[in-house]
Symmetry: C2
Subunit: 329 residues, 2 copies
């Protein structure tokens, strides 16, 4: 394993510390509970909290800031934060307007975020609501669908509405609207390597691609021979577009998300191929985001996310966001 780290055991503490140190005006860091919060708390607005396992940088700490999250709770690499960690994230960012938890649909995250919410409600009398993101179309059964890169659109749009001063029920409703309209599928050219394991999570041949891979090195749905970007884009969209379905005339936001080790050169090429196919299918692209948003450590590969927009979602998507990793372009 060849990594730029100091030791597998200190990865999460050091990366959170590095993030907090790099953005002192933006972020504060509770080292005991690995919670990254805004440096300047907004009072009176609905609080948005997300997080999960680490290894998805810049998610989720990179999306803490005005217009997006209030706090991100950081578990160990690919492991849910504990109930107590999430609980501290909730109570330490308490607001009279209430709290919304944005949970990615993994068993550990769901259990621990829900457990923490119960504690905050029962012990502290807080009002805590939650939404669960499951945008990964690689899995057929909706209840088992994972939350992947589409989660960032939930953070952005619900965060914008909260910043405008909307109520908890309004913020939850718009988060659920995003979840209902967002779909993602990814693929891997290489496995990720978890620092503590020291070797790739799965084997993939020099001429193989894994389609439908998750963001923790979970198996995909099919393995195909190494193919041009155009072919991969088509196979992803053949699964994403009919799923909602997205229809001719729909306006969409597109996210081309690198999984950590993919050069930007290749993400721009994939973005071009996705744009061409969307044009051919009569979908209108309102905005494209390209970069590393929800990664899988050092995995080479990418995911494509479509979000169907309406007037409300488009406006909220365009609201300003002052975070380390969201892009305004």
């Amino acid at each position: 394993m060849k990594k730029l780290i100091n030791g597998p055991e200190s990865v999460v503490e050091e990366l959170c510390g590095g993030m907090a140190k790099a953005y002192p005006k933006l972020l504060s860091w509770d080292r005991d509970h690995m919670v990254i919060s805004r440096q300047t708390r907004s009072s009176g607005k609905v609080v948005l909290i997300s997080g999960g396992g680490s290894g998805h940088e810049p998610a989720h700490g990179g999306f803490v800031g005005k217009g997006m999250l209030d706090a991100a709770v950081c578990g160990d690499v690919f492991a849910s934060p504990s109930i107590m960690q999430v609980y501290h994230g909730i109570v330490d960012n308490r607001s009279d307007a209430g709290t919304l938890l944005i949970i990615k649909n993994y068993t550990g995250d769901v259990l621990n975020f829900e457990g923490a919410a119960e504690m905050a409600v029962e012990d502290d009398g807080m009002v805590v609501e939650k939404v669960c993101v499951n945008d990964d179309v690689a899995i057929e059964e909706s209840a088992r669908r994972r939350g992947v890169a589409g989660t960032l659109f939930v953070h952005k749009i619900a965060g914008a509405l909260a910043e405008r001063g909307a109520s908890l029920s309004e913020v939850k409703a718009v988060a659920e609207k995003v979840i209902a309209n967002v779909r993602t599928m990814g693929f891997a050219l290489t496995s990720c390597t978890v620092p503590a394991q020291g070797k790739p999570t799965f084997d993939l041949g020099e001429r193989e691609i894994e389609l439908g891979v998750g963001i923790h090195g979970e198996a995909g749905v099919s393995r195909i021979e190494l193919a041009p970007s155009e072919t991969i884009a088509r196979q992803l969209l053949d699964r994403i577009v009919p799923d909602l379905p997205y229809s001719t005339g729909d306006e969409v936001a597109v996210m081309i998300n690198g999984l950590g080790g993919t050069p930007l050169q290749e993400l721009f090429i994939l973005s071009r191929d996705v744009a061409t196919i969307l044009d051919d299918r009569g979908l209108s692209t309102y905005r494209t985001l390209i970069g590393n948003f929800m990664t899988s450590i050092d995995m080479q590969g990418a995911s494509v996310t479509l979000l169907r927009l309406d007037d409300q979602l488009r406006d909220l998507l365009d609201d300003p966001a002052d975070t380390a990793a969201w892009t305004s372009c």
Copy 2:
């Protein structure tokens, strides 16, 4: 070679096309000459043009936009654009206020940008000035020093002054001030792979790191055994800090630049280690930028850049920039 491309011969055209397609409000693209320009030209301001070989994405097209570059001329992967390409970039973005070329110090780029400037001056009566960036401290001899990630600070700060309406001589002077105060050094954990070559440019053992590597797979200055991030940070800063020298009390901007295949997780850890060492040495960090700015295709590794600030440079660094890849945090 496992890459997300359609073919080695179409990489540059497709990535430029992908970038232009993704940011239609921001960028226009002259496909014949591979010039990425602003969609909305500013009239009456000094025009800033940069570029060079491709393979450094998001540089340089990602830094075209209000507050930074007016145009980026894109050569083939790791190859200078031709005189005619640069010439078209210059004349097609003509302004009465004059043009400044920001050239990275490589023989091909210097020759072709200078040749194009001569043509524009002699044939078209334009006023064209140039600066040459050589921030890479890995090479002792100043005339041979390469332009690397520090170039982005030149784009940002000279771009901000041009946007404020300064004259060509003022914009050139501030660009030279940045060049005089910026230093960079990089290292590689792996080689890059040029798509047309299909194999890594150099061999690096499983437990070796190349220090002082360039952004085109050029050899570094020393090869060391795989070491913790802290050790690497110290070795880089031991070379960068005395070079200017940066002294106790100096205020600096820091760029932690991934070389293309490095996960953000690791860049945050490196950033933490750099910050700790700078604190120890009494340098005051005004702002830290972390991400992929000037890459070497898919190389795993990073570079560290320091820019010594004064009031003028700090203010211009903080001016807004509306580009695909600059970060406002």
